[in-house]
């Protein structure tokens, strides 16, 4: 595996993904703030949560880049559209499989059934994260397609 490529393009892809998600927030397409969501797993302090969450998000970006790179290596080729294809699967997994189970994993997230409690006060994402805005799936999809396309286009096989 080309570790230099994983680190570099995993970083670039994550930055672009984060920027696209923030841009979607600014445009009112979604309210989902991934670093904030991750950071509140560790702290209730809003500002600290965003900072810690950004670090976690970056690490996640690198971990996923390893998976993408492994796929490219096993196929013996890396192209932007192959990367975007993995990004599509990645986004669908996040929206359809990961977000519904998030209330069970996140120590401060309320559940759809029981509502908030003194320790669980964060809004759950709901199906396809639609609770964070009805264009959230589109924003997540576009951001992950870009992430995958960057890795596919610039990752050089070992």
């Amino acid at each position: 595996m080309n570790w230099g490529g994983v680190i570099l393009w995993g970083f670039v892809g994550t930055v672009v993904l984060t920027t696209l998600m923030s841009g979607s927030q600014a445009l009112g397409l979604t309210r989902m703030n991934l670093p904030y969501m991750l950071g509140t797993m560790l702290t209730p302090n809003r500002d600290r949560a965003k900072l810690v969450g950004f670090g976690l998000h970056l690490i996640n970006g690198w971990l996923f880049a390893i998976v993408y790179a492994a796929a490219f290596d096993s196929w013996g080729r890396a192209t932007w559209w192959l990367g975007a294809g993995i990004g599509l699967v990645h986004a669908l997994f996040v929206l359809a499989a990961a977000t519904p189970v998030l209330p069970g994993m996140h120590p401060r997230m309320a559940s759809e059934q029981h509502g908030p409690t003194p320790t669980r006060e964060l809004e759950p994402p709901g199906f396809l994260a639609l609770n964070y805005g009805r264009r959230t799936p589109v924003s997540v999809l576009v951001a992950h397609l870009a992430y995958g396309a960057i890795l596919g286009a610039f990752y050089n096989l070992a």
Binding site: Q25, R31, M32, R46, P118, E121, L122, P125, T136
Partner: protein, 623 residues
């Protein structure tokens, strides 16, 4: 004519409203428990509820008795928590309204919504049927949202870039069109129920807990306000009114930047049915000097310094020229637009957002800013190099432009004139810069400032004083007066006991006053709009200060006490007062009027030799 317009009874009197807030945004709540005005996430954001400006399509959030009642209101002592007690035939209930606030430590320790309004309903006697009406209409009533009931998570809808969430312990159901929610419930003595409305731009939103945790937020908020009020160093007469004014002023302070807005509303009319309806949700530099004086004198040095810092930051975009008005973050472009879909308060059209005054030339702002800077220096404040350059540029601009006509303090829309008060404030600007140089070592070149300062005085004394009338005049070579001339002794241009000023004060009181109330100028003065407006609260308080400084302490005290009688039931003042009915007119509540009240009380206290230690330290002659 505007005054003859038939009053639309569906609108509560302006004075029937009370304000709650969290130093970022504010809401107006009527005596019937209807929240009729709310802009989120900040003061000048589009409204979520605007029944204040259109009872049909503006949107409201009412919690109150379903049947007849008698309402008595107050703020919980030394807080901005509004308490309305409804006495009904079947019992008594108490409604407490607040925007929760928390200390920095408390914010770090727990998840709190970005913005929240908490409404606590307590049964005190018998049993009362309560009605809840929830009709959010974001973007000044232009959006009709589709509400979604998410069960235990609350009732949700989108509003602008964010999401609005209502959680309630009282049962609610969506209306058939899903554009609102309603509910009716009986509340018995001893019961306590909470409704929480929150707004989030970031997801995941914080879902506010109700029950005991909501009670905790009420207690936390009360503690926060009481601790803030306790910092008030003023111990002179009328302390209760002064502290209430300080609390109102704090509600109109935008904490993230330190800016103080003029009022949290737009387009409340200066005459019912009239067109003098302006957006005051911005920050006027003119308020700088008097605001800083009031804050420093009350012991709120942090707030005064934050306001100064905002001022120095806000003016960066327009330096060395100063604009009249900026938004809370210093944005200088505030284009004025009319919202034709809104009927306006009691049919007072148009409803305006933005403020055209931002494009006017008002030379007096230079004096206000320089005077505020001197007050800061007197309190031990230091200026960085950039601020020194700014102050020097300010003086140079005054030297270059003071001979120009301007729109003046009243922001008239009838063209420019040579306003005497504007020239006097240009004199103040140069005088304060010279004092900053002479007394505080500010490294600026002041030789030209001295020459121009003297030239301004000569011009004012020759052309701004009418020998035949024996009075200063509204404009150069004029024959009438306006209330802005009352500021001349308050800024130290002339003493209140000087014969010229005494004659001017006399003339103002003769021609513009009705009892303790003072109009800003004569009805016949052309200001570009149809005539019809009330007396100005701030001018009335200036008159009190002038009388006290001129030696008429008894008369000033009587007038001040009469003016206090025009506050509404919770101690708030609008911009104007109808001399015939005593009703509040114009945007509400108005920071400048409350600043006037505080400064008048300080002057009375000073004249009565009852000043507080904090106040004695301020040696500025213009106090």
């Amino acid at each position: 004519m505007a005054e003859d317009a038939r009053r639309d009874e569906r609108y509560p009197d302006i004075g029937d409203y009370a304000l709650i807030g969290n130093c970022r945004s504010a809401a107006l709540i009527a005596k019937d428990g209807s929240l009729d005005w709310l802009c989120w996430p900040r003061f000048d954001s589009p409204s979520i509820f605007a029944a204040l400006l259109d009872t049909d399509c503006g949107g409201r959030f009412r919690v109150g008795p379903a049947g007849p009642y008698r309402a008595v209101r107050r703020y919980l002592p030394d807080t901005n928590i509004l308490e309305t007690t409804f006495t009904c035939p079947s019992g008594i209930i108490v409604l407490r309204d607040l925007m929760p606030v928390a200390s920095e430590t408390e914010q770090r320790a727990s998840l709190l919504p970005e913005h929240e309004i908490l409404r606590e309903v307590e049964g005190r006697a018998g049993e009362v049927e309560i009605e809840v009406v929830y009709e959010p209409r974001p973007d000044y009533g232009r959006e009709t949202p589709r509400l979604v009931d998410r069960g235990p998570l609350g009732i949700v809808c989108s509003a602008g870039r964010g999401s609005l969430l209502l959680r309630s312990e009282l049962p609610l159901h969506l209306t058939p069109d899903r554009a609102g929610a309603r509910g009716v419930a009986r509340v018995r003595a001893g019961e306590r129920h909470y409704l929480s409305l929150s707004y989030s731009i970031e997801g995941p939103a914080v879902l506010p807990n109700l029950g005991p945790l909501a009670a905790g937020r009420v207690a936390q908020t009360a503690r926060w306000w009481r601790e803030w009020a306790e910092r008030c160093a003023y111990e002179g007469p009328y302390r209760a009114a002064v502290v209430r004014s300080a609390l109102a002023l704090k509600l109109m302070t935008y904490a993230p930047s330190g800016a103080v807005i003029a009022a949290p509303t737009t387009s409340l009319p200066e005459a019912i049915g009239g067109a003098r309806n302006w957006d005051y949700r911005y920050c006027w530099l003119r308020d700088a000097s008097l605001t800083v004086r009031a804050l420093f004198a009350l012991g709120y040095g942090e707030e005064a310094t934050a306001f100064l810092a905002w001022m120095l930051h806000a003016t960066r975009l327009t330096r060395p020229e100063l604009q009249v008005v900026y938004d809370v973050f210093g944005e200088a472009r505030l284009p004025e637009r009319e919202l034709s879909h809104l009927n306006g308060y009691a049919e007072s059209r148009p409803v305006r957002i933005g403020n055209g005054a931002s494009a006017q030339l008002q030379l007096d702002v230079y004096g206000d800013v320089a005077d505020a800077a001197l007050r800061f220096a007197v309190r031990g404040g230091h200026f960085d190099r950039d601020s020194v350059r700014f102050l020097a540029g300010l003086g140079q601009t005054v030297c270059r432009r003071w001979r120009e006509p301007d729109e003046g303090i009243w922001e008239v829309r009838a063209g420019r004139s040579h306003h005497t008060q504007s020239k006097a404030l240009c004199w103040v600007a140069l005088d304060r810069l010279i004092r900053l140089h002479d007394e505080h070592g500010l490294d600026i070149e002041v030789d030209r400032f001295r020459e121009e300062r003297d030239a301004i005085r000569t011009a004012i004394e020759e052309r701004g004083f009418n020998e035949r009338l024996g009075s200063y005049t509204r404009v150069f070579d004029g024959a009438d007066v306006d209330a802005s001339l009352l500021l001349l002794p308050l800024y130290g241009y002339v003493t209140a006991t000087h014969p010229r000023m005494q004659a001017t004060s006399r003339r103002i009181l003769e021609t513009l006053a009705q009892g303790p109330l003072v109009h800003r100028y004569a009805r016949s003065t052309a200001d570009g709009l149809a005539p019809g407006e009330g007396a100005f609260g701030i001018c009335s308080f200036w008159a009190v200060e002038c009388r006290a400084r001129a030696g008429d302490l008894a008369g000033a005290t009587v007038a001040f006490e009469q003016l206090l009688g025009y506050a509404n039931d919770v101690g708030l003042f609008a911009e104007e007062i109808d001399p015939k009915t005593g009703a509040a007119l114009g945007n509400f509540p108005q920071a400048f009027t409350h600043i006037g009240l505080i400064n008048a009380a300080l002057t009375l206290a000073e004249c009565q030799q009852q000043v507080t230690p904090a106040d004695r330290r301020l040696p500025v002659g213009s106090r």
